[in-house]
């Protein structure tokens, strides 16, 4: 593995290896001193052209737990505001001494483009509505911790699939690991052409909710274009939001997941987000472990 740009670049063995390694790092994170010297002397640069709380913090925590140094790039305070190109920015960060770049960008394929210009590993931390592979890893790890495996699980991904890089990554990872994935959304929030997605589709959450092991809620992303696909937000909430009633109709051992940040009262009712069956904070915790695994695989062998 030279870069991590898309789940589609991984085979099942590589994906399971990363999850196994992440499981071990999760134990490291439970120790009194949650730090190992594995990547001492290496420098990880986080290069985020889009806003992020958990992904960026999680990558920085993961790098530090492996004893790597971290450089942080923020476009608002950088030469990008002076018109520097993505290529020149990437080359500059590399020349400053970064051994690996973690890239988030609003354009599809941005991280892959950066990888083509550099002679060091690049991790895609989100490119437009395309891919967010470490999110899929942490989601897979979270489900595996709860159910032991993904084989045969019935997982529904609910909401704005069309504009979601989380959905595209999760669909690839969950199906690669043997789960059956159903997309649940109004037609205008599904990809316009579903050929190439190994999924089934439903427009009604209520028809299938009792049969699911995992209900994965996507964020309604007004900033990424969910709005024009919806007649109104209240209409969406009434059909696709998880409130106490729908939570009660879920199977007893089924779980709720969400990539965050959550819109309380939209995808998920305010009081449901804190229910023990919601694994939202477990997802965040696992984010650090899977990112340690990816950093280790890309930087740790030499």
């Amino acid at each position: 593995m030279k870069h991590l740009l898309s789940i589609a670049d991984l085979d099942r063995g590589e994906l399971e290896d990363l999850l196994h390694l992440a499981g071990e790092f999760a134990e490291v994170l439970e120790r009194p001193i949650p730090k190992v010297p594995t990547l001492r002397g290496k420098t990880v640069a986080t290069v985020f052209f889009e806003a992020s709380t958990r992904t960026r913090l999680s990558f920085e925590r993961a790098a530090k737990a492996l004893s790597a140094d971290v450089m942080t790039f923020a476009p608002g305070t950088s030469s990008v505001t002076k018109g520097e190109s993505l290529k020149d920015t990437a080359l500059t960060i590399r020349a400053t001494g970064a051994d690996l770049l973690v890239v988030r960008h609003e354009a599809v394929g941005a991280a892959a483009r950066v990888a083509s210009w550099l002679d060091c590993p690049v991790i895609n931390a989100g490119d437009g509505a395309h891919q967010h592979p470490t999110q899929a890893l942490l989601d897979s790890l979270t489900i595996r911790q709860r159910f032991g495996k993904l084989d045969g699980l019935r997982i529904a991904i609910v909401g704005d699939v069309r504009n979601s890089r989380v959905a595209r990554s999760d669909i690839d990872a969950f199906t690669l690991l043997g789960a059956n994935v159903t997309l649940i959304a109004p037609p205008t929030l599904l990809p316009s052409d579903l050929e190439g997605f190994p999924v089934s589709v439903s427009h009604s959450l209520d028809e299938v909710i009792a049969d699911l092991d995992v209900v994965y809620l996507l964020r309604i992303q007004m900033e990424r274009g969910s709005g024009p696909g919806l007649p109104s937000l209240p209409e969406y909430v009434s059909r696709y939001g998880i409130d106490r009633g729908r939570l009660d109709r879920m199977a007893p051992d089924a779980v709720l997941m969400h990539p965050g940040p959550i819109n309380r009262g939209v995808e998920i009712a305010a009081n449901v987000a804190d229910d023990p069956r919601a694994l939202i904070l477990a997802q965040v915790r696992n984010g650090v472990a899977v990112r340690m695994a990816v950093l280790f695989r890309l930087l740790g062998t030499s």
Binding site: L86, H105, V108, G109, G128, Q131, D193, G196
Partner: protein, 420 residues
């Protein structure tokens, strides 16, 4: 007596069809087609086609205003290398070609460079802003025959109707970049399974089709000549066919890249495959090839759209639209389509010269005709590498194509010759 220039042993496209012959040129005219001629300068055309110089109805030469991408000199050099002796320059310059003096500036620069005939197209609206009509009479008097806001559609049907009514009697042609801005908004590639997988906003084929359908109704209303630029979808071709069958004065062009590729090429996320209209489905591509062969699509046009390397070293969605094409067009058509010599020169020279009303171009070779011609080896393979254009944003880069331009003669002068 020796002629100034003789092209020897080619298969020459004359008004009576292709014949093995020498072509002799003196001054700016063809003086003999036939038996052996001696020339002060000679080109060996053994195994090659000799036909009228190619005519491009659609190129962006970027002058005035964006000379870092291309200018009339480098654009003309690229044209000559591609076998072109005439190029219709699109009016999306800065300033736009919305007034007579800007059209005359381009003609003057073209004469100074002297490598091919650069004919300015005029914009339909001032500044291509879609609000007020350009100085249409001024442009006409300066020699403009093709009017288009290329890069954008004229979205306002009422305004387009007025332009078509105003221009109809003169015989001008209104050419449309057909793209409904609401249906195509924010899109970067063909809407289909790949755009869905990539999470990239698509431009459905319907964005083109609804504009073509509307414009054909306006053609019937106004009687103005109407030309569909860079047609990309099967349904658009069907609409054009229906309009032609009804006797409307309609023509259409297709680009070499839409003939060569389909939207699967965008999977590489290389901006050299980003253009508007986008590469469409393989079904659409098949229909485009068939319609070019049958003549339902009248002409090949390059949509040569140079951009500097620094502008394309960005993610696909942030890259500017368009790719270069002048130097690879003939080869791409010969590689990806089945056309005989007469069909090839009809679609790439005779028809575009007729549509663009360029008098000295697109004429089959005979004594007394202007010496604008090109020599093309239809079976020669070559690998695309290096360009005369300032730009390198070509989807054909590094590909091996069949069919190579060996020489170009413009007004009697050898403006391009491959050293073999």
């Amino acid at each position: 007596m020796k002629y100034q220039l003789v092209i020897r042993n080619g298969m020459v496209l004359t008004p009576d069809g292709g014949q093995a012959a020498d072509v002799a040129i003196d001054g700016n005219a063809i003086v003999a087609v036939g038996g052996s001629c001696d020339g002060a300068e000679e080109i060996d055309a053994e195994g090659a086609w000799v036909g009228p110089g190619l005519v491009d109805l659609h190129a962006h030469l970027r002058e005035p205003g964006q000379e870092w991408k291309e200018d009339i000199r480098t654009g003309s050099e690229a044209a000559a290398a591609g076998g072109y002796t005439a190029v219709v320059a699109m009016p999306n310059t800065q300033p736009a070609v919305d007034s007579g003096h800007i059209a005359r500036l381009i003609l003057e620069r073209s004469h100074q460079v002297g490598l091919c005939e650069v004919v300015p197209a005029g914009s339909i609206t001032m500044g291509r802003e879609g609000a007020l009509l350009s100085h249409l009479d001024e442009l006409w008097e300066a020699g403009v025959r093709v009017f288009t806001d290329d890069g954008d559609s004229v979205h306002d049907a009422g305004l387009l109707r007025v332009a078509m009514e105003y221009l109809a009697d003169r015989g001008a042609v209104v050419a449309q970049h057909a793209e409904d801005r609401a249906l195509g908004a924010g899109g970067h590639m063909h809407e289909g399974s790949l755009s869905s997988r990539l999470g990239m906003k698509g431009i459905p084929a319907e964005a083109e089709e609804v504009v073509v359908a509307r414009d054909l109704a306006l053609t019937r209303l106004t009687g103005c000549r109407y030309h569909v630029q860079h047609v990309s979808s099967a349904l658009s071709i069907g609409l054009v066919g229906t309009a032609k069958a009804a006797g409307l004065p309609v023509t259409a062009e297709v680009t070499p890249h839409h003939l060569a590729f389909d939207d699967s090429a965008v999977g590489s996320l290389d901006p050299a495959f980003k253009m508007y209209p986008p590469l469409r489905s393989s079904t659409d591509r098949g229909e485009l090839r068939a319609a070019l062969s049958s003549g339902l699509i009248d002409a090949v046009a390059t949509d040569h759209a140079p951009h500097s390397a620094f502008e394309t070293e960005v993610p696909f969605e942030e890259a500017p639209r368009g790719v270069i094409g002048l130097e690879t067009s003939a080869a791409a058509v010969l590689t990806y389509c089945h056309l005989d010599q007469a069909g090839f020169f009809d679609r790439l020279s005779v028809a575009p010269a007729r549509i663009g009303q360029i008098a000295r171009q697109g004429r089959l070779l005979a004594p007394g005709e202007p010496a604008n011609l090109t020599v093309i080896a239809p079976a020669e393979e070559w690998t695309v590498d290096g360009f005369r254009s300032k730009a390198e944003n070509s989807p054909f880069r590094s590909l091996t194509l069949t069919g190579r331009v060996r020489a170009t003669v413009f007004e009697g002068r050898l403006v391009h010759a491959l050293v073999s």
